[in-house]
């Protein structure tokens, strides 16, 4: 009469294609939402999915329907006090009295936002999109923890390529010794006895003959112990270990003088985020130090870093000095990987630039793994750029770039990613 089918093991993502299509179709809106989300969230919080709001009317599927007006009679349950002929004011907004609610739902178009959640992959995909990251880097960043296979002792089973010769032979030697031991002992005794017999006169011929035969036999037995046996083979054992095992600290340095406006700060934020993502891929623990500066530098929290406004002149060296101090005090090179990302509009007090160069060359560059600098300005370069070019000439792990759009950010990191990918 009935067939029972257990479908639980069948695929469950029947709708994923439709979901992808939905996202592709509303990419414009979703991307806007992602960009807004980026503003709202912290750099270190990049690696999660995101709730995205789309105005409902943008994705409504229109059909012919009745609008308000005309004459309609609606039936409702739960009458308590009304009698025929009662009149009442039309409820505003419909919801309150409930009267009219039934019919209105035929035509009502909910204006609520359509909220849904992007998965982490979908979010990063959209986030990366206008950064123009090469695909390889993209997958590398989006991938969750990577494992590295590390040697962990030896096993007795494995593939031939992993045979450890020294270990195997050492094992074989021990086995040979062990297996031959009873014969060797007897052999030694037999040889000694034979010697004794030969030393004494008269020689006991018969006994000597027997001993010689036994010795021959024992030698054969000892030789018969195989030189190496499958039993002796030892293979290098490898286990998967989560790769990021070290710690890094990332210094974000930003110029907050009056000329850095909202848009520039947003760009800078993306720049910092990208470095953070990269570091996160490679290090287990990351600390972020935010240093902002105008004429004096100050270490702040992220909120203040991006959202407080200051005005005043610009002395970049103040920030570099603070960075160098923080490095020396809190992040010894022996246990930390240091990365610095600096964003600025290129403005600097003219006489300060050589000081910056010297600071970098002497107190910072020798210790950091990578130093990335972006100059967000459409104008011509100023003295700071020239000073930095000198630094670049001396240090290959110093990258700098003038940018005016998100697409220009990635090249700053190109070397950084290249090195890791290979």
């Amino acid at each position: 009469m009935a067939t029972f089918i257990d479908r639980r093991l069948d695929g469950k993502n029947k709708s994923s294609v439709n979901r992808q299509r939905f996202i592709r179709r509303f990419k414009g809106q979703i991307k806007k939402a992602v960009a807004e989300a980026m503003n709202g969230r912290s750099i270190t919080d990049i690696d999660n999915g995101e709730k995205v709001n789309i105005p409902a009317r943008d994705l409504s599927e229109p059909v012919f329907g009745h609008g308000p007006g005309g004459r309609r009679e609606a039936i409702h349950p739960g009458n308590r006090e009304f009698t025929t002929g009662d009149r009442m004011a039309r409820p505003q907004g419909g919801a309150g009295g409930g009267a009219g609610g039934g019919q209105a739902s035929n035509t009502g178009e909910g204006e609520d936002d359509f909220v849904f959640e992007l998965s982490r992959e979908e979010f990063l995909e959209l986030f990366f999109e206008d950064l123009e990251l090469p695909n390889l880097v993209r997958t590398q960043l989006a991938k969750a923890t990577e494992f590295k296979s590390v040697r962990a002792g030896f096993t007795s089973a494995g593939n031939p390529a992993n045979i450890d010769v020294v270990r195997s032979l050492r094992g074989a030697l021990a086995r040979r010794m062990a297996m031959a031991a009873p014969y060797s002992r007897r052999l030694r005794e037999a040889e000694e006895e034979l010697q004794r017999l030969l030393d004494e006169l008269p020689i006991d011929e018969i006994r000597a003959q027997t001993l010689v035969a036994e010795i021959e036999h024992l030698r054969a037995r000892v030789r018969a112990v195989p030189f190496i046996d499958t039993f002796d083979l030892r293979y290098v054992n490898r286990v998967q270990q989560p790769q990021p095992t070290t710690q890094a600290v990332m210094f974000c340095i930003m110029d907050v003088s009056g000329s850095m406006d909202r848009a520039r700060k947003d760009l800078a934020k993306r720049f910092f985020t990208l470095l953070y993502l990269f570091l996160q891929r490679n290090y287990e623990k990351i600390e972020v130090v935010f240093i902002r500066h105008h004429t004096v530098a100050k270490e702040v929290d992220e909120q203040e870093f991006f959202y407080s406004r200051e005005t005043g002149g610009t002395v970049v060296s103040s920030a570099l000095e603070l960075t160098a101090d923080v490095m020396r005090e809190r992040y010894p090179v022996s246990s930390w990987n240091l990365y610095v990302a600096q964003a600025s509009d290129g403005d600097n007090w003219h006489h300060d630039s050589p000081a910056c160069r010297d600071l970098l060359l002497q107190r910072i560059m020798p210790y950091v793994r990578y130093y990335a600098y972006i100059e967000i300005t459409p104008d011509r370069h100023q003295s700071l750029w020239e000073a930095y070019e000198e630094v670049k000439a001396q240090h290959p792990h110093f990258a700098m770039r003038q940018i005016d759009g998100p697409a220009d950010i990635y090249p700053v990191f190109r070397d950084l990613f290249k090195r890791r990918v290979s």
Binding site: F22, E73, G78, G85, M88, F114
Partner: protein, 502 residues
């Protein structure tokens, strides 16, 4: 004795257990109540799979389209946030009748769902005249498969985007893809495939003929000018587009047809919400009680069942903050039970109102009611004064010519008939949806297409969405499309045009 009959007393279900439930329920349903059902195919699925099933609007295999993705995203969000429980079951009008049970259900729920879906809905699908005329349960799965493959093929040949945009436009007119009065021809996969090619060629030749530009004699032209095309207004917009839109490619016509056929498949469901759910609920309620009487289930089972049952058939009063109209389960279940009551213990009032059924065999009467009505006529026929009193129904007239709302009828003697008519009208698709028909094609002029909306009780079209739908219609038609409204005095007014004229 009852001890030995008890099927289980654990709330964890197992396959043998639900098979046993199904067997017992099936026996009672068929032997005692004479239900005529399709064979059942009961599938156990997970919550994720249930969300998949949800988002494809109950089609076991749908073609790919972003709107289903949107539905999925929405369902998933609501479910994950706990704003919405998933339905315990989805049942598909097909032969064999496919019912999905969720693995999370308790043993009681599985039994309930089997009774509700596999016997209640199933017998409704098989018996109700609307389903019998409009859908062919044995062919739907094949047809959906055909549609899915065809759409995929089109995407390959013409690009995903072109197909998707085109389907958007068809979906916008989906509700106008059915012949309300003509009987449809049944679906069949083999015929579909076989005829599809011929149809493409034939249609194309027909259309070319219609739009022939070879000059004809002026006299004839004048005569034809007066002749309208189509000769009579057409209510099935999609059908009209499929057959007459001048610029569509053959594959596009086929897509229109697919959407139209699927609309047709769902058309009965939209018209029998109250009846379908009411019937299934009534059946499960009756069957569960029989199980209990026979000793197949114990008190604990029954208490759990009643708790779930009462929450399903609960009707909130209009002034409750969560009130959202009349609950079709509540109304349907109450009406079905009420018919049973009228048959078994009629009062004087019942004898006066329902002379035909009072005191009759309730099983036959209910079977008759289930087979031969849709929501509108079912309510008009069977809503009893007692029920109107129980529900405390009242009618509110909202007329934009008056400043205030007026209570026009309540659950009292003078009000019964008016209440009943108004409630029936509320379930009439013809008045719920705007009445829009193809009026004219200016086939000797600019080829523009004119639709007419015949207003009902002066209700206007929703202006924004109408504009949007007209854009979609324009995409299908290829030339100017126009919407006119005809009011009750026959006055015609232009409501919208795409591309916007003047």
């Amino acid at each position: 004795m009852s001890e030995s009959k008890l099927i289980a007393d654990s709330s964890e279900w197992t396959f043998p257990m639900i098979e046993r439930y199904n067997e017992v329920i099936g026996q009672i349903a068929v032997n005692e109540f004479g239900l005529d059902v399709y064979p059942n195919q009961i599938e156990i699925i997970t919550a994720e799979q249930m969300m998949d099933a949800y988002s494809s609007v109950g089609m076991p295999l749908g073609y790919k389209h972003w709107s289903y993705g949107k539905q999925f995203v929405l369902t998933e969000k609501n479910y994950r946030r706990g704003q919405m429980g998933l339905a315990y079951e989805i049942v598909i009008n097909s032969d064999p009748c496919i019912a999905y049970l969720m693995e999370e259900n308790t043993a009681m729920m599985q039994a309930l769902v089997i009774a509700h879906a596999a016997y209640g809905h199933n017998s409704f699908f098989k018996g109700n005249y609307l389903f019998r005329t409009w859908t062919s349960a044995d062919a739907i799965i094949d047809y959906l498969l055909f549609a899915r493959n065809y759409v995929a093929e089109c995407e390959e040949r013409h690009g995903e985007e072109a197909v998707e945009l085109f389907l958007d436009s068809c979906h916008a007119l989906m509700n106008y893809g059915v012949d309300r009065y003509k009987h449809p021809s049944p679906l069949s996969l083999s015929e579909e495939k076989q005829r599809q090619r011929e149809r493409e060629d034939y249609l194309q030749s027909q259309i070319n003929d219609l739009w022939r530009t070879v000059p004809i004699k002026p006299l004839e032209a004048a005569a034809e000018e007066a002749q309208r095309y189509p000769a009579e207004p057409q209510e099935n917009l999609l059908y009209f587009i499929e057959k007459s839109a001048p610029l569509l490619e053959p594959w596009q016509r086929e897509l229109v047809r697919i959407v139209r056929k699927i609309a047709q498949y769902f058309y009965p469901q939209r018209q029998t919400q109250v009846m379908n759910e009411g019937w299934a609920t009534f059946i499960h309620y009756t069957l569960m009680n029989r199980l209990y009487d026979e000793g197949y289930v114990n008190d604990g089972f029954m208490i759990e069942f009643l708790q779930s049952h009462t929450s399903v058939v609960h009707q909130l009063p209009f002034d409750h903050p969560y009130y959202s109209g009349i609950n079709p389960y509540a109304l349907g279940f109450a009406m079905m039970s009420d018919i049973q009551r009228i048959c078994r213990e009629p009062t004087t009032e019942d004898r006066h109102w329902f002379p035909d059924i009072a005191g009759q065999d309730w099983i036959k009467t209910l079977d008759f009611a289930m087979r031969n009505f849709k929501d509108e006529s079912f309510i008009a026929q069977f809503l009893s004064p007692k029920l109107m009193r129980d529900f405390k129904l009242f009618a509110v007239l909202d007329d934009d010519l008056q400043d205030e709302l007026e209570v026009t009828a309540i659950h009292d003697d003078p009000g019964y008939r008016r209440l009943r008519l108004a409630l029936a009208d509320q379930y009439n698709l013809g008045s719920r949806e705007p009445n829009i028909q193809v009026w004219n094609v200016a086939h000797r002029k600019d080829r523009s297409l004119t639709l007419r909306h015949t207003r009902y009780h002066r209700r206007p079209l929703h202006s924004e969405s109408t504009q949007e739908v007209l854009k979609h219609l324009h995409r299908l038609w290829g030339f100017t499309v126009r919407m006119e409204a005809v009011d009750e005095d026959g006055k015609v007014e232009l409501m919208g045009e795409c591309p916007a004229g003047k």
